[in-house]
């Protein structure tokens, strides 16, 4: 499509049908019954964008050195952040990184006492107040930890928190809140040595084997 600079005076002369057709040419999606002033406004905006000279891309230097193939992976990305991955419904894997500056700040502080993972459970994704939390002490050199999850919880967040001798603390970074799978209702009825009654179609499907194998692998981890 040939792009030409549109101006208000010209657009005002066009019929609504022509305006819609023009908008279509410019790839503007126009909902039904849209006011023609809005269409004109959109067209002017897009037209101005087209009129902008394209930013001149910096020319890349193609003669860089061939990177060394022996370099190890970096042990840190010099960022303070923490992530949580659900390993299974009973365990989460937590890993974190601390920036050089952040690490220096806490480790060189005479008031620094310890570093903990604060494991918090929430009732909803929006909630900011945990229904429960506990702390797991970690070493300054640690960068990962498996965390056993409480059954029946809904949302999990893990914070990396530095504690100081004066009782104060500094939350260095917090993870995204992750959704924990709801304990399957059938598991609440499944106890060792107790025959669970299930419809025949589920029995043929392997439900009893599944419950048995589930108990062998996870035991109480999933109980409400």
């Amino acid at each position: 499509m040939e792009q030409k600079i549109l101006n208000l005076a010209y657009l005002e002369t066009l019929s609504s049908a022509d305006l819609i057709a023009l908008a279509d040419d410019y790839g503007i999606d126009i909902p039904d019954n849209l006011n023609r002033r809005f269409i004109i406004g959109e067209l002017l905006e897009v037209s101005q964008e087209f009129a902008q000279p394209a930013p001149k891309a910096a020319i890349m230097n193609e003669n860089g050195e061939v990177p060394s193939s022996s370099a190890e992976l970096p042990s840190s990305f010099n960022e303070t952040e923490i992530s949580v991955i659900l390993r299974n419904p009973a365990w989460a894997f937590v890993y974190w990184d601390i920036s050089v500056e952040g690490l220096k700040k806490i480790s060189e502080s005479s008031r620094f006492r310890n570093l903990v993972l604060r494991v918090s459970y929430f009732e909803s994704e929006e909630s900011s107040n945990p229904v429960e939390y506990y702390d797991l002490q970690v070493a300054l050199s640690d960068r990962a930890q498996y965390v056993l999850l409480e059954a029946g919880r809904k949302f999990l967040r893990v914070d990396l928190v530095a504690f100081f001798t004066d009782g104060s603390c500094d939350s260095l970074t917090i993870s995204k809140k992750i959704t924990l799978p709801k304990t399957p209702a059938i598991l609440a009825k499944a106890f060792p040595g107790q025959e669970v009654e299930v419809p025949e179609i589920l029995e043929v499907s392997g439900m009893k084997h599944l419950l048995k194998s589930h108990y062998e692998k996870y035991r109480q981890s999933f109980e409400e």
Partner: protein, 534 residues
């Protein structure tokens, strides 16, 4: 009323491709062994059925990395040389074993197989096995399912929609590239279901997927027909996609254990001992003399295997074939019994049972696996059970029961734990960090051209290779763990180099070109697949 048995074969191979045949002979051998033991026998079997007029139906997954390798000219020429070396070795074995009648018979059989493989691959199939699979898909015998670009374990990226999109999109592009058709089904690697993947799959027009038993039986809504009918996912009602839905099949609980579990039938003493290879016993120099290996190379398998699973018992192929027949019949009888029992509970609705079979068990881990499969298909064809393809069983999707699947996988203790344990958990921080960076790069450089696009596309490929679940699996299983770690690190390092090059506006084109030539996978790669959908 028809009862449906859906046999789904899953073929995957990590992207292991090395021009240097000497240093990576053992790693290259994984694919060549798979071609000879699984993929050529499967194609031969399909042609036998065709010649006999036997109308078989199977579902088949061939991962993009496997297809890329099967389509690679370097790999094809290496495979031909690999076969020629085995023929040369076999000719010496026949002479060596001339006085041992029983071993000689097995050596001759292995030699004949290597010669036939060479003839089939080069002359009958013109080095193009993908074309054969596509042919049978076109005829309606095979329903080909797509899978992720690099067989990533999606639950590890469940909170990164862009990564789910990219893995699915590359998988679909690859499927269309190699098979010239759009798939109806999508196989989640390791059957790793993560909430939200149904939205992604539906947005790409996928009709169905397959999950582990837990994902269906542990759903909040009890599935009315258990595992004997597909269900459909509850989708987010706020989207227009809720008008349609993703059907889910649940795999049969017993099948993996039947074939490869602790008391599986593939461990029967009469079957071939796949770990006792002539090349592991002979003097090293004789392997060099027969041109199987070169000085300085490790011992690699010759695939001349003369013994069975019993202690020092000599392999008898006739006895093994008879056992495969018995095992196929008993497997089929067990599945039919399940279908019969389900039929009684299901009233007017026809039951279906989907069995997932790892292609590695068909010839590689279990030498007689393909013979067993052929007997199984013949047994099913002669019964009142229909061998079916998944899409045909779905029928009216709106008639399927809606469930919210439970997270799960057919790996580890059912949640993919093997892919995240103390042996390999160091990897995930890198894959996720680089994934975040790739998403950011695709957003920052949407309209780049020239050298930067080459860099970004290479970065996207390297990231996808790093995301492959293959590496963590190999490390967990102890299958070339150092190699898997090295490959993973190389992919991450390459991505970091790309990232830094874009930041500093400086790159070594020599390095870029070399890596592009080395990793030919996804030549169509467009880094924008990682862009956040706006």
């Amino acid at each position: 009323m028809a009862k449906n048995l859906i046999l789904t074969i899953v073929g995957h191979q990590g992207y292991i491709r090395h021009e240097n045949e000497k240093d990576y002979a053992l790693q290259n051998d994984i694919l060549f062994g798979a071609i000879s033991q699984t993929y050529l026998p499967l194609v031969n079997m399909f042609h036998r059925f065709e010649n006999e007029g036997l109308d078989f139906k199977l579902a088949l997954v061939l991962s993009p990395s496997l297809c890329s390798l099967l389509d690679d000219e370097l790999i094809k020429s290496q495979y031909i040389r690999w076969l020629e070396k085995r023929i040369s070795f076999g000719e010496k074995e026949v002479v060596r074993l001339a006085s041992d009648k029983e071993l000689l018979k097995n050596a001759e059989s292995c030699l004949a197989k290597a010669k036939k493989d060479l003839s089939d691959f080069t002359q009958v199939y013109s080095q193009n096995l993908i074309k054969e699979f596509a042919y049978f898909a076109g005829k309606g015998n095979l329903e080909l399912l797509a899978t992720c670009g690099t067989y990533a374990f999606l639950p590890h990226f469940g909170d990164m929609t862009e990564i789910l999109n990219a893995q699915v999109e590359v998988g679909l592009y690859s499927h269309r590239h190699y098979f010239g058709m759009n798939p109806e089904g999508f196989y989640l690697p390791f059957m790793g279901y993560t909430p939200g993947i149904e939205q992604v799959l539906r947005s790409y027009g996928i009709k169905y997927s397959i999950v582990d038993i837990r994902s269906v039986l542990f759903s909040e809504t009890v599935p009315e027909y258990g595992i004997f009918a597909p269900v459909r996912c509850n989708l987010d009602d706020s989207t227009s996609l809720s008008k349609s839905s993703l059907a889910l099949f649940c795999q049969d609980f017993d099948t993996p254990d039947d074939i490869a579990g602790d008391n599986c039938f593939s461990s029967n003493p009469v079957y071939k001992n796949q770990s006792k290879d002539a090349a592991f016993d002979l003097p090293f120099q004789s392997l060099v003399d027969s041109a199987l290996i070169e000085e300085g190379m490790p011992r690699i398998p010759s695939y001349f295997r003369y013994w069975n699973n019993s202690e020092n018992g000599i392999y008898d192929s006739n006895q093994a074939e008879l056992q495969a027949q018995k095992d196929a019949e008993s497997f089929f009888a067990a599945k039919k019994a399940k279908l019969d029992a389900a039929e009684k509970c299901m009233g007017e609705k026809a039951p279906s049972l989907l069995c997932v079979i790892d292609a590695k068990t068909l010839g590689q881990d279990w030498a007689e696996g393909c013979i067993w499969l052929e007997k199984l298909i013949r047994a099913a064809s002669a019964s009142d059970v229909s061998l079916s393809e998944p899409a045909a069983v779905i029928g009216n999707i709106f008639s399927l029961q809606k469930i919210t699947p439970y997270p799960g996988a057919a790996q580890g203790n059912s949640y993919g734990e093997d892919l995240l344990d103390s042996s390999n958990d160091w990897m995930i921080r890198y894959t996720r960090k680089m994934s975040e960076r790739m998403i950011d790069l695709s957003d920052r450089f949407p309209n780049e051209t020239g050298l930067k696009v080459r860099l970004l596309n290479l970065g996207a490929k390297e990231l996808m290779l790093a995301q492959s679940g293959e590496w963590s699996m190999m490390i967990h299983n102890g299958d070339f763990p150092e190699y898997a770690a090295q490959r993973f690190k190389e992919a991450i390092k390459a991505f970091i180099i790309v990232f830094d090059a874009l930041g500093s506006n400086t790159v070594s084109t020599e390095w870029l070109t070399n890596l592009e030539k080395e990793h030919l996978i996804f030549p169509w790669m467009n880094f924008r697949i990682f862009s956040p959908k706006k």
